[in-house]
């Protein structure tokens, strides 16, 4: 498929990692769009080099502003738990033999790309913060998390969960925890924690949709598609389109997510059900994006981003607070009574969140 050793198709067969990686290098959105389509069509590294060289020459470096290039470092924990572990790939270094390392590197690039190209944000802190990820954490580790400074990925046990770097939206989800930490800093408990989780799912999904060039109608709206081992009865870990339907398995149990407030789960576990009740704001985002059509990152994503970064969202915000701010943001950006305002207002109404 390519002369690079260790290359394997990653997030899906449509977007190989080097493509995602190179996409982050184009400076002009008007040109990166067609370039992206071309790259997706033929995937030739030679073409990629020509394209990116052209863009690099066109870009005039500004030493005062944060770089438009990510600063990625991937570490390997060697199946132990000391963080960050040994450096295995730095920014600009070519792909190596380890597909997990390559996926993490490319996923960080795709995430950086969405935030910069669509929302004008330089990395997770808006000031070009270096992106750090550790792979091969612990043995058969069934998880990925954000430790406040970096991403950490386990290999999965191979029987229920596969490698956590496989789904691009999981990588985007973890990095978005960093964005949230540097912006609204939603408290990771109860409703504000579920909002924190939902924001990570929303932008994790948008990162995948943006990389694939999908419209809201084309996207699968799944979180963690490709993460479950063969034999597990399920398509993913969460579904924004139909919360509660992602899996139903003998070992895993059934997807517990509610889609509306009628199914809100009160629990002290999982930080007050942050991965359960996130289904409600997740579904609201899906409904708004589906109603608006087109690319979800353009309007619905912009509204959610405005709320996350606008400075008005309290750390302990409730669903109703967040909903109210999205309606306000839709009005401010797109006008009162417009399609955007109506789509967002109706979305929250459909999931049973009353806006005060």
């Amino acid at each position: 498929m390519t002369t690079h050793g260790g290359f394997q198709p990653v997030f899906c067969t449509v977007v190989p990692p080097h493509v995602l990686d190179r996409l982050a290098r184009s400076d002009d959105p008007a040109r990166s769009g067609p370039a992206r389509r071309t790259l997706r069509r033929d995937g030739e590294l030679r073409t990629l080099r020509q394209v990116t060289t052209e863009f690099r020459l066109a870009a005039e470096p500004d030493t005062r502003a944060p770089s438009d290039q990510p600063a990625r470092t991937i570490h390997d924990a060697g199946h132990r738990t000391d963080l960050p572990g040994a450096v295995v790939r730095r920014e600009g270094e070519p792909p190596g033999q380890d597909a997990t390392v390559n996926r993490a590197y490319s996923g960080l690039g795709a995430t950086f790309d969405l935030y910069l190209r669509v929302y004008g944000r330089h990395s997770i802190d808006g000031e070009g913060l270096p992106l750090v990820a550790t792979v091969h954490y612990d043995e058969q580790y069934d998880n990925a998390f954000w430790n406040g400074e970096q991403m950490v990925f386990g290999d999965g046990d191979g029987e229920v969960f596969l490698d956590f770097t496989l789904p691009l939206d999981v990588i985007g989800h973890e990095l978005t925890h960093g964005v949230t930490q540097h912006t609204a800093n939603l408290t990771y408990y109860g409703q504000s924690g579920a909002l924190n989780e939902s924001v990570s799912d929303v932008f994790g999904s948008l990162i995948k949709q943006y990389a694939l060039g999908q419209t809201a109608a084309e996207a699968d709206w799944l979180i963690g598609a490709g993460l479950l081992a063969p034999g597990v009865t399920g398509s993913a870990l969460r579904s924004m389109k139909a919360p509660g339907t992602a899996y139903d398995d003998d070992v895993l149990g059934k997807d517990p997510q509610p889609a509306t407030m009628a199914g809100y789960v009160r629990t002290g576990r999982d930080n007050g059900g942050v991965h359960i009740n996130s289904g409600i704001p997740n579904h609201a985002f899906y409904l708004a994006a589906a109603a608006l059509g087109g690319h979800a990152w353009e309007k619905a994503g912009q509204i959610w981003y405005d709320v996350l970064t606008g400075g008005e969202l309290a750390e302990r915000a409730l669903f109703a607070d967040f909903a109210g701010l999205t309606v306000k943001a839709a009005r401010e950006r797109y006008g009162d009574g417009g399609d955007e305002f109506e789509a967002v207002r109706k979305a929250w109404e459909q999931v049973g969140v009353r806006i005060l």
Partner: protein, 88 residues
């Protein structure tokens, strides 16, 4: 000695439980020593975790301690992985 582990949270938000009853086991002494070390250092209330990090509750007979990734002692990590694997 009865050793119970409950793991909650994580990216998937799926709960896991395990329990090992050591009486009659040939390796009981080893389990006892490991369990004693694991509960010696844990707080009695859940600590603040990190986003998507696992939270653990370890109960050894009538003592319960809590811990959360990534800040587990080596003994806690060994114990929870062994109990979740062997006592699932």
């Amino acid at each position: 000695m009865r050793i119970q582990v409950r793991r909650t949270g994580g990216f998937a938000g799926i709960e896991r439980r395990g329990e090992v009853e050591t009486s009659g086991r040939p390796d009981a002494a080893e389990w006892h020593a490991l369990a004693e070390r694991a509960v010696a250092s844990g707080p009695g209330t859940p600590p603040a975790g990190v986003p998507d990090g696992f939270s653990y509750r370890i109960t050894v007979d009538d003592r319960t301690v809590y811990c959360a990734d990534p800040r587990l002692t080596e003994d806690q990590r060994t114990l929870v992985s062994r109990v979740l694997k062997e006592g699932a």
